[in-house]
Symmetry: C2
Subunit: 417 residues, 2 copies
């Protein structure tokens, strides 16, 4: 990185102000944000984004799924751009930073470049992906998945919300119409995001260099035993569905612990009839496993199936296991990680390699272009919650690293070129 | 037992017909019975009981909590009677046999004695205890507990149902008024009942000699951990309330298995927030332990508390344990057991010593007079269920043993005198 590039400092205060201004759109009384995809609040946020980007010298185009892509021209606009991005939509009881941070950090980078008066060698783009959260319209990461060719456009447009409104109708109602242009894929993609986990805060590191998004698989495990009187049914004549399910919960926990940095979780359990003096007749349990290495996750899955079979045998219950979701791991590009790590070291921000447990738009992008993610700490690791909180200094540090990484790729200093 | 007494045979067909006639009062479309305490259906059943008993030569008295006690006079009516009994009320979706069998078996004994033309040396009584089930008015076994002096009358009369109706009002509405007489406590009490468990059926024995009702204690265990993202919270930074609760479920199961004929059960579990990709933040679990020996149950309880503490430590969660019920074990009288066993052997009914896991009116009576219980098999051990079912031959065998045991005590052949 040249000294001239290193001089380009983002404005942490302006970034914070933009975040707070955006958080007023869809603000909830409890201090959070309800800005679900393609609602009126989301429409307002999209309009604000467009206005800010245009004021920073960008053209903003819209694609057929409603992704907004702001483009700051470069010296040679025929070269592939360097893209930043994240999402403006939120959970129903979401926070101010999930998604919003990545978009506002990108905006701050565009503003800083614009203000410097220097025109980068190639264009810099900033995407606000449609419907990352997936709460109104499933699946999540809809816009970035369509952009990356992972989800057919027609399929996405036909998805309906709880009121029967399709994505296509919701786009029309939000006044979204595709602008038609398409300058092609970028050379690389960077996304800044709050960690949504407790590691960076606990380790005292403002910057996480995300090495991969974990692959994951979700199962529904249904145990069928025999409901019976808890006083008059001897232990050796029971078919106790909860006793069997408890074995699987414990096994999952042990599988997770034995395969760090992967994890394994039983999050949901429904017991029937769920009465203190009745032996549980049936239990439905959720089980999910995640790991950045798909081969390791596959081994975890085998151990899980063995534990389920052993629990069923031990407690004389029938069991059925349905896989309801599987996503492969997404390792991020070495060149992107190097650029992020290099910036953090130059700026003397303590940093840490970290795996993303959650999925992000960058996972979709990583399937088609070299991609990288920058994590910053959030208080207590709490996210998808109105109490979501992050420190202005950490947010500024992540934004500075985003800026440096983007410029490194623009100037061709990065190994990825 | 003298040869003459042994000749007194009950009529199994008449017993079955009485049971079926009684089951029409409060019959449900699914073949069960809904005859909750002091409802209109219960009132009808009480009237039918009174009519049948009077036709069998009995006087029927009513006490202040509405217990109906039919009395067939003996040669010396100043001697304490031998009492039989059970209950006419049912669960909301109850079966034809729970309670009803013990009352109709007693009625059949009265009819058989009456028809024989022989007057027993002392009176024989048959009680229909008020509100054994406790579903409309808690607690269960209300009438027998008041009779035995375990529950103050005024306290019982003041209990309200879900509509705010007191027991006192419900008794008035059902036309119940105390008849005032009280010939004093009986010399012994016998109750016939379906097992409500699977043991007799599995062992092929029509008669269970109940040696004790298990003592029991119930706990509510509340685990408080930290809800967090299942993908981004490393295993070693979790406070997973469900993982902790699962350890306790497994420990309970092992405690139960190690202390036969006692048992231990986790029947109810409520997980919050109960979402597949969120680490459970809190769990409320029910835990109950039963054993016929209170000292052994106390040892089971200690192991349970150790397991709760270990689970909380292992998973970094807070835990609170509340004891919400405790009942001491009720061993039945040796003399009553001997009379039951003797009859079964004389009649060549295979029999088995068995512990009652459930509580019954006989438990209350056992606190004040020598008491015994006779169990007969029920299909699949299923009870508190409209599908409750029992074989006519088994019901007749249990009734015959009841008759023989009562007469043995009447004649002073039994060791209990």
């Amino acid at each position: 990185m040249s000294a001239a590039q290193q001089d380009l400092k983002i404005d942490g205060r302006r970034l914070w102000d933009s975040l707070m201004a955006l958080a007023r759109i869809g603000a909830t009384p409890a201090g959070g944000v309800n800005r679900q995809a393609l609602t009126d609040a989301d429409r307002q946020a999209r309009a604000q984004f467009t206005q800010w980007c245009e004021a920073a010298g960008c053209r903003v185009r819209t694609d057929a799924i409603g992704n907004l892509i702001a483009r700051l021209p470069g010296q040679n606009d025929d070269l592939p751009a360097v893209m930043m991005g994240s999402h403006l939509d939120s959970q129903p009881t979401g926070g101010k930073f999930d998604g919003a941070y990545g978009v506002m950090a990108g905006l701050e980078v565009l503003r800083a470049i614009r203000e410097s008066g220097r025109i980068p060698p190639r264009a810099v783009e900033l995407a606000a992906w449609t419907n990352e959260e997936g709460t109104r319209f499933a699946p999540s990461m809809m816009g970035s998945a369509v952009y990356a060719g992972l989800l057919p456009l027609e399929e996405a447009l036909a998805v309906v919300d709880a009121d029967g409104v399709t994505v296509a109708e919701a786009l029309r109602q939000a006044g979204v119409s595709p602008s038609g242009e398409d300058p092609g894929l970028p050379m690389a993609y960077f996304e800044a995001h709050i960690e949504q986990g407790p590691v960076l805060e606990a380790e005292g590191k403002p910057i996480g260099v995300v090495t991969a998004a974990q692959g994951q698989c979700w199962f529904r495990v249904s145990f069928q035993g025999q409901a019976a009187h808890a006083g008059s049914t001897p232990m050796n004549m029971r078919a106790d569905a909860l006793a069997a399910a408890a074995r699987v919960v414990t096994a999952l926990n042990e599988i997770g612990k034995a395969h760090a940095p992967g994890c394994a979780t039983a999050g949901r359990m429904v017991v029937t009839p769920n009465s203190p003096n009745v032996i549980p007749g049936s239990v439905v349990l959720s089980a999910e496993m995640r790991h950045p290495d798909d081969a390791v996750r596959s081994a975890m899955e085998s151990l899980f199936h063995e534990a389920v079979a052993a629990a069923a045998r031990e407690h004389s219950v029938q069991v059925r296991t349905d896989k309801i979701l599987e996503q492969p791991a997404a390792p991020f590009a070495a060149a992107c990680m190097q650029a992020i790590r290099h910036s953090a070291r130059q700026r003397q921000y303590p940093c840490l390699d970290i795996v993303s447990g959650a999925a992000h738009d960058a996972v979709a992008l990583s399937r088609i272009v070299p991609s990288g993610m920058i994590f910053v700490p959030c208080a207590g690791g709490i996210s998808h919650n109105e109490a979501e909180s992050a420190e202005p200094d950490d947010l500024a540090a992540g934004c500075q690293v985003l800026c440096d990484s983007v410029l490194a790729f623009c100037h061709g200093d990065a190994a990825g070129r």
